[in-house]
């Protein structure tokens, strides 16, 4: 594990399905060995297609996929290694545990069918090690159908790593587990990956999974990578209104820049309804540029009367609706000029609908981002929850 392993390079990858809107328009990324990389995005954004192209389950139209000196796929050179010769481990969304085989035979399958031959003793040792690393020792002779969802998940993982793959691909592996088990598996998966040091590509639509587990996250939309960076970068400096929405910002508002503002400076933006907000610019912008202004609901302060404190946008509004979530209360505030804001506040005291409140939003929490081609709506959050 001390010698650096091969680098995965995906260049200009494209896979378009005739007569459909899905697929991958163009995707590029380079991963150092041992990286935990997450492809994050709503359904139909091309993340699973990208993964299946790397696995060899789909043949791309354009581009190249290289691992170190090996070209898995190269459109220009005409190279395409079939999937069963790529030595990749993969965990599927449905786990794909073969119901007619025992746990042992499921895990041993890659060792039995590959080109390399292993002795009986080698197979036994490798399977036992893989099974132990996912904490399933003692379950080897069970039929796969007698296992719970979480255990099947572990079998799938053991099968994926038993041959020491050069690459580990995980296709929404946690989406079929219940919430408690999902949290537990996140931590285990991350620590297993760190122990093995295998380059891992993880596909999910759940932003909290992506933030918790990844070294590097790529947010995809419409077949392209919208932003790639560390979890902190993606969360605190979203590139576009879409990324901000996807990372949990409920208030993404369209506006235009008033005066030219350099990267990282404060500047003012006029919103569609005519209201003006002071924003922190994450990218430099010229006067008249269209931007998306993102305000996280938890960054909004609601006060009985304006405190007049500096460094914050001061608004006044009426509580339109209030809901109690336990640790938080969620409000919709009507601030006039056709503008409503979503706010999440500690729930010790509840405000009633109709109450007059002062709304304060710190300048540093009012982010001016690049506008998307299609301006994001507040509704989009719901469609993601369903995705």
């Amino acid at each position: 594990m001390n010698t650096p392993g091969p680098t995965l390079k995906v260049e200009g990858l494209s896979k378009i399905y005739a007569g459909s809107t899905g697929g991958v328009k163009t995707v590029d990324f380079t991963l150092k060995s041992g990286t935990f990389f997450t492809l994050l995005g709503p359904s139909g954004c091309g993340k699973t297609t990208t993964l299946r192209c790397i696995a060899g389950l789909e043949t791309p139209n354009l581009g190249a996929i290289r691992l170190g000196d090996t070209s898995f796929f190269d459109a220009q050179a005409g190279a395409n290694i079939p999937l069963n010769r790529r030595n990749i481990g993969m965990v599927f969304q449905s786990y794909a545990i073969w119901p007619h085989l025992t746990v042992f035979e499921n895990v041993a399958f890659p060792l039995r069918v590959g080109k390399e031959r292993y002795s009986r003793a080698q197979i036994k040792e490798m399977v036992e090690r893989a099974v132990a690393s996912v904490d399933l020792t003692g379950f080897e002779s069970r039929s796969a159908t007698q296992l719970s969802g979480g255990q099947q998940q572990r079998v799938a993982l053991a099968r994926a790593i038993v041959k020491k793959p050069s690459l580990l691909l995980l296709d929404e592996p946690l989406s079929n587990l219940d919430a408690l088990l999902r949290d537990e598996m996140r931590a285990e998966l991350k620590s297993l990956q760190a122990r093995l040091g295998v380059t891992t590509i993880y596909v999910t639509h759940d932003q909290s999974e992506a933030l918790e587990m990844s070294d590097l996250v790529a947010v995809m939309n419409g077949g392209v990578i919208v932003q790639m960076g560390t979890p902190q970068e993606i969360y605190f400096r979203p590139a576009t209104g879409f990324v901000a929405t996807f990372m949990g910002s409920a208030n993404v508002l369209a506006g235009t820049v008033d005066t030219q503002a350099p990267d990282g400076s404060l500047g003012t933006v006029t919103l569609a309804g005519g209201r003006r907000l002071t924003c922190r610019f994450t990218r430099s912008a010229a006067a008249g540029d269209a931007v998306a202004v993102s305000i996280r609901p938890e960054d909004i302060r609601l006060l009985p009367a304006a405190s007049g404190s500096g460094g914050a946008n001061q608004l006044s509004g009426t509580v339109a609706s209030a809901s109690f979530l336990g640790h938080l209360a969620r409000y919709t505030i009507d601030v006039g000029s056709g503008l409503t804001l979503h706010a999440s506040i500690a729930s010790q005291t509840m405000l009633q609908p109709g109450a007059q409140v002062a709304v304060e939003i710190p300048f540093d929490s009012t982010l001016a981002l690049a506008a998307d081609d299609a301006p994001p709506q507040g509704r989009r959050r719901n469609s993601q929850a369903a995705a």
Partner: protein
């Protein structure tokens, strides 16, 4: 966003020629093999129907003769009446029993299944001869009528269209029951409970919700049974022919058994029947698609909750018992009685005191019968094996959309348009022109069975493979397995229950098939159904009955196995 740079300097990937060939060749080969199996019969029929009798020139004369003969329209009318009425009878009988068994708390449910299973394996000729006895002149029905009223006539003349309808309707009830009970089993009880919660009575729920939901399935099944009745040969030849009621299938049979056989006429006739069946199948296909949309399978841990019929359940029980009497007890008793009496006689004390095992001795004494049984088993088993093996591969390619697999589905459904007797005509013409002497051998019968049952094999294989999640195969590929390895180590073990069920089903219907084999059987190459048919027409009803009893016992073992396997399969599917 950036436009796709196709056509710019970037080069779109195209697999090398060798690889593309390797990818497309398997499906092309399978398509050609299936095409070579299913298309020649059609081609031969078209050709013969358009050739003059001396084979010298192309002519429409056969069609002209066919359509100018007024008897055609009489036969067509008879066939349609017979098929429609028998279809209604079996839908009514099988449907009510299926609904009672699957959706209510009626007692005696196992009896309904038992009746259906045993009847699956029994040759139709046995049923028909049993019913002919029960309803016939000397049978218990008319005998007791005479004894009670002192009349000398008949209460019911079985040699009539109503008689044929009654018997054909009873013959098809068990299959209707099995198919509809699958539909009712899958239907979602939530929808019925929602209706009950909205204030509907049981009757209103059934008529306004359950029946409406099942309607496409019932209509589809209705067309299917109608087609099978139109193609039916056993009842028309055993009852219609003696009573001078001509039907389409018996007309074709007659023109083939005349001396000399009228091949051209029979072929033109066969073409006509195929066109009728094809049109009906078209509607069947459209309705089945609709039925799939209505099927409300909900997946996990789902149990339909039965209606509580209250006291009415005893009425339901009476219906189930009546059904069992009709499809199982009465015919079997009649056939058992006939196999034990020295000659056909009324069922009375005098008859009972004269029972003998002579017919059984006669059956066992002749090596010929053992040979017949063996022939039948060999032909049915080989045809089932070939059809299932071929369709398993074909269905795999078609379900997983291999390159060039698009035609496979259509090709395998071509034989659905061949009524058994039509396929017999086509096979005779092919065998007569074959370079190797196959005419009158078991090979021709076996081949005809393969052709006829290919669609059934496809149906079972297709259903099995569709249940296998695609990722189970992908995971094997990622693990390093080649396609043959995936087939052998992952797919085949997973779909084996479906394949076994398909094999048993084809074996069972092949073993009792009469209409295909009757024209193709040679003197030394008969199946048991043909032998029973010959014996019956020779007047040896007692031996036919004895053979029938033995054969029914043997086949019941296979049909129980079929039932058990398919039950396991649905259990497995619902356990996932």
């Amino acid at each position: 966003m950036t436009a796709l740079p196709l056509g710019d300097q970037a080069i779109a990937y195209r697999r090398p020629l060798g690889e593309r060939l390797a990818a497309s060749l398997p499906a092309i080969i399978v398509s050609i093999v299936i095409g070579l199996i299913v298309l020649p019969p059609v081609a031969v029929l078209i050709r013969t129907s358009l050739l003059s009798d001396d084979g010298a020139q192309w002519t429409l004369a056969h069609y002209a003769t066919l359509f100018s003969d007024p008897r055609l329209y009489v036969s067509a009318w008879n066939s349609v009446t017979f098929s429609a009425l028998a279809m209604l009878l079996s839908l009514l009988n099988g449907g009510i029993v299926a609904w009672l068994v699957e959706r209510t708390n009626v007692p005696f449910k196992p009896l309904a299944y038992l009746s259906a299973i045993i009847s699956l394996g029994t040759p139709y000729i046995i049923y028909v001869s049993a019913w002919l006895y029960i309803l016939g002149r000397a049978g218990p029905l008319n005998a007791s009528y005479r004894a009670l009223t002192g009349e000398t006539g008949l209460l019911f003349n079985v040699y009539s269209i109503p008689g044929m309808v009654l018997i054909e309707g009873v013959l098809w009830s068990p299959l209707v029951f099995l198919l509809l009970s699958a539909t009712f089993r899958r239907s979602n009880a939530d929808m019925e409970e929602a209706a009950r919660m909205s204030g509907a009575s049981v009757f209103a729920t059934v008529t306004r919700i359950s029946l409406r939901l099942a309607m496409p399935a019932i209509a589809g099944l209705g067309i299917f049974v109608f087609i099978r009745n139109l193609e039916a040969f056993d009842v028309p030849v055993l009852i219609g022919t003696p009573s001078k009621i001509s039907l389409l299938t018996t007309d074709i049979y007659q023109s083939m058994t005349q001396v000399p056989p009228q091949l051209g006429h029979a072929s033109a006739f066969s073409m006509l029947m195929m066109v009728i069946v094809a049109v009906l199948l078209h509607f069947y296909g459209r309705i089945s698609k609709k039925a799939e949309r209505y099927a409300s399978i909900t997946g996990k841990g789902f149990r339909p909750r039965p209606f509580d019929l209250g006291k009415g359940r005893w009425l339901g029980a009476a219906l189930i018992v009546l059904n069992a009497l009709l499809v199982l007890v009465l015919p079997l008793l009649a056939i058992l009685y006939n196999s034990l009496t020295p000659f056909v006689r009324a069922m009375n004390l005098a008859g009972l005191s004269n029972l003998t095992l002579d017919h059984y001795r006669a059956v066992f004494a002749q090596a010929h019968y053992v040979e017949l049984a063996l022939n039948t088993v060999i032909v049915a088993a080989s045809a089932a094996t070939v059809a299932v093996a071929l369709t398993a591969i074909a269905a795999w390619m078609s379900v997983r959309r291999w390159p060039y697999s698009g035609l496979i589905d259509q090709l395998t459904s071509v034989p659905l348009v061949f009524p058994g007797i039509v396929l017999g005509v086509a096979m005779i013409e092919m065998a007569l022109n074959a370079p190797i002497p196959v005419y009158g051998t078991l090979w021709v019968i076996g081949m005809a069975f393969v052709i006829r049952y290919l669609p059934y094999g496809m149906r079972y294989s297709h259903a099995g493979i569709i249940q296998v999640h695609r990722e189970l195969e992908d995971a094997a590929g990622i693990s390093g397995a080649t396609r043959p390895t995936i087939l052998r180590r992952v797919l085949l073990p997973l779909i084996s229950p479906s394949l076994i069920a398909g094999w048993l089903f084809i074996f069972l219907i092949g073993a009792k098939e009469l209409s295909i084999a009757v024209l193709l059987a040679g003197y030394n190459a008969k199946t048991i159904s043909v032998a029973m048919f010959d014996q019956w027409t020779n007047g040896a009803g007692g031996e036919v009955s004895a053979m029938g009893v033995i054969w029914t016992c043997v086949m019941t073992i296979f049909s129980s196995a079929l039932y058990w396997v398919t039950r396991q399969r649905t259990d497995m599917a619902s356990a996932k």
